[in-house]
């Protein structure tokens, strides 16, 4: 088949070339319209179920809301995990779906289950709200608004009802959460004196409000010629109208709402807030729909906002764009990678011209590279795979093989031409030269592809993350092989038919002379050569784990996210005050462009945070000349001055990846599961103390925060009976007094406003709560303190569940890049020093266990791949010595990669691991080609086997091996040099490993293998 393809291409070079051009054009089109993203959708889809339960504390929310809903959701198909938090007034359940199913169907199942929730939830709890499906990155664009002219109420109204609908109308936007400002509600501030004087109850007021705001359709009039609709208006549409609504009549005199209450528009109790540059404002956080293109949606949303900005400015509203913009990283990464590849391409062309000394050869070699890569992009796009850091990484890693494919044919044809006697059949020479290398290249490519199978087979989230890389690599390598078997021979036939090449470059001839001398000397010391090979391989294998391992590198983005938490139970205003201080300090840093802060949570938002938690979104400005590390250090230094804050600072990508991979942002954590929260706390405390003693432990904290002070209102049944009160009426009054009872909803054309009843005149201190007056039997007033015991207690502020089980989490940010090593040490220390009670068990999570799982997967699959490669080599060569020689040569190639990683001070990220696999494939390829060339020399050219033949074969392979290594090195050099630059975080380590490995593998192939082969190899029949 290979021969048929090569012959066909040479027979019809114009058609093949035209087809290749067409495919390249498709590729260009696909590239221009490519869906660009930061990462592939590496995480399975998930939704958040939020249920508001005003007035309930965490334990009540857990028992009355979270548990029933978890019970409802448990057992639904395709659910991978259910995690929940129960906090004051809110139940938040995260449902993570299995990656295999249709996310929309999975969400539909959840919707159907939640439809039954109504009967399970307590009175006063809102309906469970389901978040939209969003992508793994989730973040789309965060922007803000401030105003000196509008009040917080007016500003939020404007954004909520005018701007938000336009944001959500942008295709691809799943959600827009609004932080800050004041939410409007129509308030009835009940005067207890007037209520008492009027002799009406709160329930009568509630009912009057409902009647006054109820809108009932009027129907229509049908005349003989017309149908006229009766447009009914709700009577209580304005505060004045609502105040006129009648509660009841006393002796013929109507008693109105305005007689017992002041009706006004006011602000609802805040559940969150926002600061833009230290000023109060509105922060809007948008998220993408599942599968949406981040760049496209970002541009569309920015365009929409840009058109709105002038109108908003006229109303005195300032627009603060790009407070958090993941698209910037995509743009930066893609631009830098593109520039690096362009520089690499120029260098490749230059080297081809210098080495081949001919424009034809350079053109043919070079053209096959973009054709292969463009064809890969086309196939990827048609398969719905986005161009992202990982798939681009696959293309970068594939460069070595693609370049080799491009060079090897041309170089072999050129060499044969040079050596061919006059009158040689040019067409025959072309076919022979192509087929000579193509057969071994086919097996070598297959070996490389098999080497990548372990990555392709990675399971779980790591698999979703790295599979696009492996897929892009394998596709590029496969298509490169196709191009090498079709377009390259066709172009050679077109351009090199009668071409007589110039003599080989002088420097290559000198290299061959030096190589010959070296092989001759090494041939005399075969044992030394063997020991060197084995020793370098062993050293590489031993040093490899010592580099330390981590799943992902530090991404150098233009944004940092700082999660800060004060003590649970702190007032929102105090969080905001401290936030203003921090924001002012951060904004003063040269190199910080903007600071936005979200406090608490948004309505039905993705983060069910309490008012003690805030998130700072810090936009960095690298044009000030500071590195990412310097700016990171400056930001951390600011937070060091606020020791009361629990602070975790991440780049956006690391934060999202950590959150999505394990539900936890930290690199290492231990989940403590057990039915008794206090026992869980004690075990977690012991674990925290043990981990704290480990030398590389950085910050340790418990995720579930400490207890917070609560004022317990314990009703006394005997006193309730005495005063003729029923418990629910008392609780409703308490709710109205200290939260506001939502009793109706005023709906207008484009907005709805809740109508709430409050009790006025209460001083909000614990001491005054008991003064709340209740209306007892016969209208007698009873203070709350007469019927309830009030005590300040410490109580849970948050209860965390996973799969319905209570858990406490010990979160660690180790001060080491060797996360896997730290995780091992931590597990051993915990196992040695912490005794677990009977009902408690632990689960380790975070990046390190993920790396360990990935390593285990990789190891298992790598073993399988190794066996496959051995079988493949056996099939190719049919001789055990050949196979053994290839295998002996491989490990020593690792040493260069290990040395390169060590020199750059990097660790073994999965990107670097992928680089090693690619390196392994390239080294195998070089050795396979060399050995197959020996077979060719002996079997086809009839050379007697010995040192001379081995040296000749090596010399003839020197040019393509050196050329491939040099070209690959030049192509990857810009990427490797910019290792620390944004956008090169994944590809940079790969490039470093390949560059280092190319040095060792080239030396091994060209200098160490030939003397060994001369001694022990028995070349003969050409099987390849």
């Amino acid at each position: 088949m290979l021969a048929a393809s090569v012959r066909g291409s040479i027979a019809h070079p114009k058609i093949v070339t035209a087809l290749s051009l067409l495919i390249a054009l498709f590729g260009v089109n696909a590239l221009l319209n490519a869906r660009l993203d930061v990462f592939p959708d590496f995480a399975p889809p998930h939704v958040l179920v939020q249920t508001e339960a005003p007035g309930l504390d965490a334990t009540q929310v857990e028992a009355l809301v979270t548990r029933p809903l978890e019970g409802l959701l448990a057992g639904a198909e395709s659910i991978a995990a259910i995690r929940s938090t129960s906090s004051q007034g809110l139940s938040a359940i995260q449902v993570v779906f299995g990656a295999a199913g249709d996310p929309y169907r999975q969400r539909q199942v959840i919707t159907e289950r939640l439809a039954q929730a109504g009967a399970l939830l307590p009175a006063g709890a809102g309906p469970p709200l389901l978040s939209p499906l969003s992508s793994s990155m989730e973040y789309l664009l965060h922007f803000g608004f401030t105003s000196d002219r509008l009040s917080p109420l007016e500003l939020r109204d404007l954004i909520r009802w005018t701007v938000k609908p336009q944001i959500l109308a942008v295709p691809g936007v799943a959600q827009a959460q609004i932080f800050g400002g004041d939410s409007r509600e129509r308030q009835l501030l009940i005067d207890p004196l007037r209520l008492q004087a009027a002799g009406v109850t709160l329930d009568e007021v509630y009912e009057a409000v409902r009647r006054a705001t109820e809108l009932i359709g009027g129907g229509y009039l049908e005349t003989a010629t017309q149908r006229i609709v009766l447009q009914a208006q709700a009577p209580g549409d304005s505060p004045q109208a609502l105040a006129q609504a009648v509660i009841t009549a006393r002796e013929g005199v109507p008693l109105r709402l305005g007689d017992v209450a002041t009706v006004q528009d006011g602000a609802a109790p805040r559940i969150g807030d926002a600061m833009i540059g230290g000023r109060p404002g509105i922060l809007v956080e948008t998220s993408t729909q599942f599968g949406a293109n981040t760049l496209e949606v970002s541009y569309a949303l920015e365009n929409r906002l840009a058109t709105l900005a002038p109108a908003l400015a006229e109303r005195g509203v300032q627009y603060h764009p790009a407070l958090l913009r993941p698209a910037s990283f995509i743009e930066s990464a893609i631009a830098k990678l593109r520039n690096s590849l362009l520089v690499g391409a120029v260098l490749v062309v230059a080297l081809l011209l210098v080495t081949l000394r001919d424009w034809r050869g350079a053109l043919i070699s070079f053209s096959s590279i973009p054709v292969s890569l463009l064809a890969t992009v086309w196939v990827l796009m048609s398969r719905g795979i986005s161009l992202n850091t990982m798939s681009l990484g696959g293309l970068v890693v594939a460069l070595g093989v693609v370049v080799d494919d491009a060079v090897i044919d041309v170089e072999n044809i050129t060499r044969r031409r040079r050596e061919a006697p006059p009158g040689t059949d040019g067409r025959r020479l072309l076919i022979d030269a192509s087929l000579e290398v193509r057969r071994p290249v086919f097996y070598a490519t297959a070996a490389v592809a098999v080497a990548f199978l372990p990555i392709f087979m990675l399971s779980g989230l790591q698999g979703s993350f790295f599979r696009p890389l492996a897929m892009a690599f394998m596709l590029a390598v496969g298509l490169s092989l196709l191009v090498a078997m079709s377009a390259t021979p066709a172009l050679c036939a077109l351009l090199m038919g009668r071409y007589v090449p110039r003599p080989e470059a002088l420097w290559l001839r000198r290299c061959k002379t030096l190589q010959h001398q070296a092989i001759a000397r090494l041939h005399a010391r075969p044992l030394w050569v063997l020991v060197t090979l084995l020793l370098t391989g062993a050293v590489g294998a031993v040093l490899l784990p010592a580099l330390g391992a981590r799943l992902l590198p530090d991404f150098r983005e233009d944004y940092l996210i700082a999660h800060a938490a004060l003590r649970p139970g702190i007032a929102l205003e105090e969080t905001a005050r401290v936030g203003r201080q921090i924001a002012a300090r951060l904004a003063a840093i040269r190199g910080v462009r903007s600071v936005a802060e979200q406090i608490g949570r948004a309505e039905n938002g993705q983060d069910p945070d309490a008012p003690n938690k805030s998130e700072f979104e810090i936009r960095l400005d690298r044009s000030q000349g500071f590195t990412a590390e310097q700016l990171d250090a400056k930001v951390r230094a600011v937070f060091d001055d606020f020791p009361n804050q629990l602070v975790e600072i991440y780049s956006v990508l690391v934060e999202r990846i950590g959150e999505t991979l394990s539900g936890e942002g930290a690199p290492f954590f231990v989940s403590v599961f057990g039915p008794d929260l206090d026992v869980d706390d004690r075990v977690a405390a012991d674990i925290a103390a043990v981990l704290q003693r480990l030398p590389q432990t950085g910050n340790v904290r418990l995720k579930t925060p400490p207890r917070q002070v609560q004022l317990r209102v314990a009703l006394r049944p005997d006193r309730l009976v005495l005063y003729g009160l029923d418990a629910s009426a008392v609780l409703r009054t308490v709710n109205a007094a200290f939260h506001g009872a939502s009793v109706a909803e005023l709906t207008r054309a484009d907005r709805s406003v809740p109508v709430t009843v409050h009790i006025a005149g209460l001083r909000p201190t614990p001491r005054n709560v008991g003064d709340l007056l209740l209306r007892g039997r016969d209208g007698a007033l009873v203070p709350l303190s007469a019927v309830a015991t009030l005590e300040l207690v410490s109580a849970r502020s948050l209860i965390d569940h996973e799969s319905g089980l209570r858990r406490q989490i010990v979160v660690v940010n180790p001060r080491t890049s060797d996360q896997a090593g730290y995780a091992r040490a931590a597990r051993e220390a915990v196992a040695a020093h912490v005794q677990l009670p009977p009902d408690v068990y632990l689960r380790y999570g975070g990046e390190a266990p993920a790396v360990a799982a990935a390593e285990k997967d990789l190891l298992l699959h790598a073993l399988a791949a190794f066996v496959l490669i051995v079988l493949l080599l056996a099939l190719a060569f049919g001789r055990a010595r050949h196979v053994l020689l290839v295998l002996v040569a491989l490990p020593s190639a690792l040493l260069g990669g290990v040395a390169a990683v060590a020199v750059t001070g990097d660790t073994l990220s999965l990107g670097a691991m992928v680089g090693f696999i690619a390196l392994f494939g390239m080294a195998a390829r070089n050795t396979i080609l060399l050995i197959s060339h020996y077979d060719h020399l002996v079997a086809v050219e009839g050379q007697p086997w010995g040192l001379a033949s081995a040296a000749r074969g090596a010399a003839e392979r020197l040019t393509p091996v050196l050329l491939t290594a040099s070209l690959t090195a030049l192509a990857l050099l810009p990427v490797a040099i910019q290792l620390r630059q944004p956008g090169h975080e994944i590809e940079g380590p790969m490039a470093v490993v390949i560059l280092g490995g190319l040095v060792s593998s080239t030396l091994v192939t060209l200098l160490l293998i030939p003397p060994l082969a001369a001694r022990w190899l028995r070349p003969g029949e050409v099987k390849l």
């Binding site: 201080q581 009361n644 977690a684 418990l702 007892g776 300040l792 849970r796």
Partner: protein, 315 residues
């Protein structure tokens, strides 16, 4: 309102949360800040100001109908007069009977029965009047009639001010304020009323309003501010106060530790009376420097650096 302290922690197992440079494995939470941290967090200390205050308590007022007072007083005086007449008649008949002057035993016994009956009626009316109008009942007849005259002429109003649900109310001062549509009107406290209002279920006082605004008449409900006994204490702003299981406390600056950090400790206070945006408290000295801005920072620092996992009740 009853304030109960929760039982103290049985086994103080400090749960160490070492964060952001705060590392205290054992012992009490270190509420210490460097000067830079103090500046950054905006922690500010001031001395509490010694002040005296006349705290006010809000009561529910009802403008009373003077006709009821006149009726009750008339009934009391009428029964008194009837009793006095019956007493005189009984004395007269007793003398006649003793002298055998045309008075039968039967007529004497009837007169004595009449005296007993009217006496009982007079005492009942007096008791009722005293219960209903205690402070008025305590007035001399002349003053009482002068009051009636003033009430009848609309020169004065009587207001009943009740504290809902508070049976054991402290004494109140001689002055009070009526909130009439946002306008404060002065009133005199005539005295406490012995009878509990069944609607308010609490102690009540009778007030006299000498300059009642026009339009305020019997039956009107008004908000009344009664004066409590003067309270002396140290004024601390509300933002300085924190509440824990043991009650209210503030953070007090206690100088620098050996490491040069500013140290703070929690100081329990008793809340005496609200005053503006602050509270008069006891438990502090005027020389104490208390945290008036950034108390939440210290509270948060205390909370996140350590907490006890051992609690009385298991959740």
């Amino acid at each position: 309102m009853s304030w109960r302290r929760r039982g103290s922690v049985k086994v103080p197992t400090p749960l160490v949360l070492l964060l952001a440079g705060v590392a205290h494995a054992h012992g009490p939470p270190a509420l210490a800040l460097t000067d830079a941290q103090q500046r950054a967090a905006g922690v500010r200390v001031e001395h509490p100001v010694a002040m005296a205050n006349v705290p006010q308590v809000e009561a529910y007022g009802l403008v009373l109908d003077p006709a009821a007072l006149v009726t009750d007083m008339g009934r009391m005086e009428g029964t008194q007069a009837a009793w006095h007449a019956a007493q005189a008649d009984a004395v007269r008949l007793a003398g006649l009977y003793r002298d055998n002057l045309n008075a039968s035993l039967r007529s004497l016994q009837l007169a004595q029965a009449q005296e007993s009956e009217t006496g009982a009626q007079a005492r009942a009316a007096a008791a009722t009047f005293a219960l209903q109008w205690g402070p008025v009942a305590a007035l001399g007849a002349q003053k009482r009639h002068a009051l009636i005259d003033a009430l009848s002429a609309n020169r004065q109003l009587l207001v009943r001010a009740g504290l809902p649900g508070q049976h054991l109310a402290d004494s109140v001062g001689p002055r009070a304020l009526l909130d009439i549509d946002g306008v404060n009107v002065a009133a005199r406290v005539l005295g406490s009323l012995p009878r509990t209002d069944p609607q308010l279920q609490g102690a009540a006082w009778l007030l006299a309003v000498d300059s009642a605004p026009a339009g305020l008449g019997p039956g009107a409900h008004v908000r009344v501010l009664l004066e409590r006994a003067p309270v002396k204490g140290l004024l601390v702003p509300a933002v300085a106060l924190l509440y824990g299981e043991s009650g209210a406390y503030v953070y007090r600056h206690v100088g620098r530790n050996p490491g040069g950090k500013q140290q703070y400790e929690a100081a329990a206070v008793q809340l005496l009376a609200a005053m503006g945006d602050g509270w008069l408290v006891s438990g502090l000295n005027a020389a104490d420097a208390i945290v008036v801005q950034g108390a939440g920072v210290l509270w948060s620092l205390q909370g996140i650096s350590t907490f006890s996992a051992a609690e009385e009740e298991h959740d």
